[in-house]
């Protein structure tokens, strides 16, 4: 089989295989479950886990300090009452959207290339939503009263403020987390049963046994599994679009220039998928290298993800262009100043870095050579991650720091605690991710096995 990509044979384009040659059902299961059950813990994993764990402890420290001293330890002041907390919240939630798109939308679209990446992409989503969810809680003045945002029977006889997008966020993000978690878990059940059956120690048998919910692999179970996956995919699909739309409403409902714009919902959703795929690539490339999974997560997978990144990057580029155009075309004094401030003001270097990272550098993905070069792809994915963080910073901080009344203008500087909180959430994310790689099958055994049939390796060689 030619693994250099597609080739035309008598007018039919043959796609590069999604599974490396020589795999049978057995070898797929062996390979993936061995990572969890038989492969010893390597120094590399321990080292990475320790770094992540220390950052998690940093997060603990910052949260304690926040509870004791309040959000003043961050750089937020008037007029930039929203700083890193909201930037990071939107950044993390955006990242999560790729996992759900891969799991749900690509399932409904019968895209077989999702099979080896969907498990860890969905795990990435869940951990990213957990990190994101910390910020709305932490940025409150009285975080211990977070439950006021929920409509529960309370002794004040008050509903939460349903007109506020911040309350809509509560519903959107918690629905998103619940559905993602359910979808991920249901998909895991047959794989957990595999681990249960292959586990050597008593502890492993019991834990995987409980988690696999009594899975027998009977036809009834499989039929229910397929149905459940489709239903959950159907539930999760609208969430990909709606959750980040609701998050964008946090800004669009306000009146300040740079926020009050109707392009935001599609622009944010495209940006979310953009940053999400970038993070999936950032995670997939090291994982496939260190765990020797190049035959499961192939060049075709990486190239396809790069193409999705390029496409969504172009939508995001359109978003920037139309924002700039509308600012000028509107002839609105304040809108035009907002644009000029982005281009020439105190944060202009960040804006130009944003254009470079999000628009210019990813154009390299038009080149097939770049798309198929693993190191270059890794670099581009990191650049896009940074670029998307800068985009949220530009949106939140630049619009806030100079709006209608010049006497209120100020410059926002993040403090060390702003950075510490952000790094701390990386600690949470990577601690969970390292634990996930160690204890759960990071690639969906079930789904990749279905590819064996396609590549024809399950038939005996004559």
């Amino acid at each position: 089989m030619d693994s250099e990509g597609s080739q035309k044979t008598a007018g039919v384009v043959e796609q590069e295989p999604l599974l490396g040659p020589g795999h049978t059902f057995e070898t797929v299961t062996d390979k993936i479950s061995a990572i969890v059950l038989t492969r010893p813990v390597t120094p590399g994993w321990v080292f990475g886990f320790l770094i992540a764990f220390s950052l998690l402890m940093l997060l603990n420290l910052v949260i304690t300090l926040l509870m004791v001293k309040g959000v003043g330890i961050w750089g937020i002041r008037i007029p930039t009452a929203w700083g890193f907390a909201i930037v990071n919240f939107v950044w993390w939630i955006g990242i999560g959207h790729a996992g759900t798109l891969i799991s749900a939308i690509l399932l409904l679209l019968h895209q077989k290339w999702r099979t080896s990446i969907n498990r860890f992409a969905e795990a990435m989503t869940i951990f990213a939503v957990m990190c994101a969810g910390m910020f709305p809680l932490l940025h409150m003045g009285r975080p211990w009263l977070f439950f006021y945002l929920m409509p529960y029977p309370n002794p004040m006889w008050l509903w939460p403020q349903f007109r506020s997008p911040l309350v809509w966020d509560v519903f959107a993000v918690s629905t998103y987390f619940t559905v993602s978690l359910l979808f991920w878990f249901v998909g895991l059940i047959p794989d957990l049963a595999t681990l249960r059956d292959r586990a050597k120690g008593r502890a492993g048998k019991i834990i995987y046994g409980i988690l696999s919910m009594g899975w027998r692999g009977s036809a009834v179970h499989w039929s229910r599994y397929e149905m459940a996956s489709l239903l959950l995919a159907g539930l999760a699909t609208p969430l990909v679009v709606s959750v980040h739309t609701v998050v964008s409403f946090d800004f669009t409902i306000a009146i300040i220039p740079g926020w009050h714009t109707t392009i935001f919902p599609p622009y944010f959703v495209a940006g979310a998928i953009y940053s999400g795929f970038a993070m999936v690539l950032t995670l997939a490339i090291p994982i496939r290298k260190y765990y020797h999974l190049e035959d499961l997560v192939t060049m075709r997978h990486l190239e396809t993800m790069a193409k999705v990144m390029l496409a969504t990057g172009l939508i995001v580029a359109y978003g920037y262009a139309i924002e700039a155009f509308m600012a000028i075309y509107s002839a609105d004094h304040y809108e035009r100043y907002m644009l000029m401030n982005r281009l020439h003001g105190p944060y202009a270097p960040l804006y130009w870095m944003l254009i470079t990272c999000n628009i210019l550098i990813p154009q390299s993905l038009w080149s097939r050579r770049v798309r198929r070069s693993v190191p270059l792809l890794f670099v581009v994915s990191l650049v896009v991650n940074i670029g998307m963080w800068l985009e949220r910073f530009v949106i939140v901080v630049i619009s806030l720091h100079r709006d209608f009344v010049p006497s209120s203008w100020a410059v926002y500087y993040p403090t060390k605690w702003d950075w510490a909180t952000y790094l701390g959430t990386f600690g949470l994310f990577f601690t969970l991710f390292y634990l996930f790689i160690r204890f759960l099958p990071m690639i969906s055994i079930v789904e990749v096995r279905s590819l064996v049939h396609e590549t024809g390796e399950d038939k005996p060689h004559s």
């Binding site: 529960y152 029977p153 309370n154 002794p155 004040m156 006889w157 008050l158 249960r196 059956d197 048998k205 019991i206 046994g209 919910m213 009594g214």
Partner: protein
Amino acid sequence: MAQIFHRSTNLISRVSIYGAVLIIGGLGYALYTIAMSPWYTEQNLSRQQPVPFSHRHHAGELGIDCRYCHTSVEKSSFAGLPPTQTCMTCHSQIWTNASMLEPVRASYRNDTSLAWTRVNALPDFVYFDHSIHVAKGIGCTTCHGHIAEMPLTYRAGTLYMSWCLDCHRQPEKYVRPKSEVFNPFYEPPSGAKQLEMGRKLVKEYKIQSLQHCSTCHR
């Protein structure tokens, strides 16, 4: 291969999963009941006072009007706690040597106030004005309960915001004729009669019954 779990896990797992909804609901109900209970709200709890003052004796048996001691209720937001002089208007003449009243006499002698423990106290973020309520036909006993039957003073209401909103949203349930405001033995008519009289009084007394947040949270 050998079964990992005992047969009983079939039942346990079903009960715990299907029952989870009931369990969570039950927990929620329990928490709500606790939060509304007198144990949590400290209703009906008489608190340690410097002197065991009996409203039952003074307001009930002797028939002293509320305003004799709580003098500023018709004019001010705070109803007022009496200075020791008010106690001494009677107790310089009667029960002059009672040991129970020694703290009162000591306070008078030393010119220091009696440190009463507040029984009905709203948190600092709530602004409450007595005078407007009294002027519009809300009786003392509506909020403070059967004070004339309390040998020791306790709080009759929860003082929750919902308790205030209950009347603010439907004042016709609680308003009484202005002549009866300071009557500690007033019994409101039941159900429909109260509503009928209430609606009439709400119109007559022009009760606005404000409900926007800044009315109380100023």
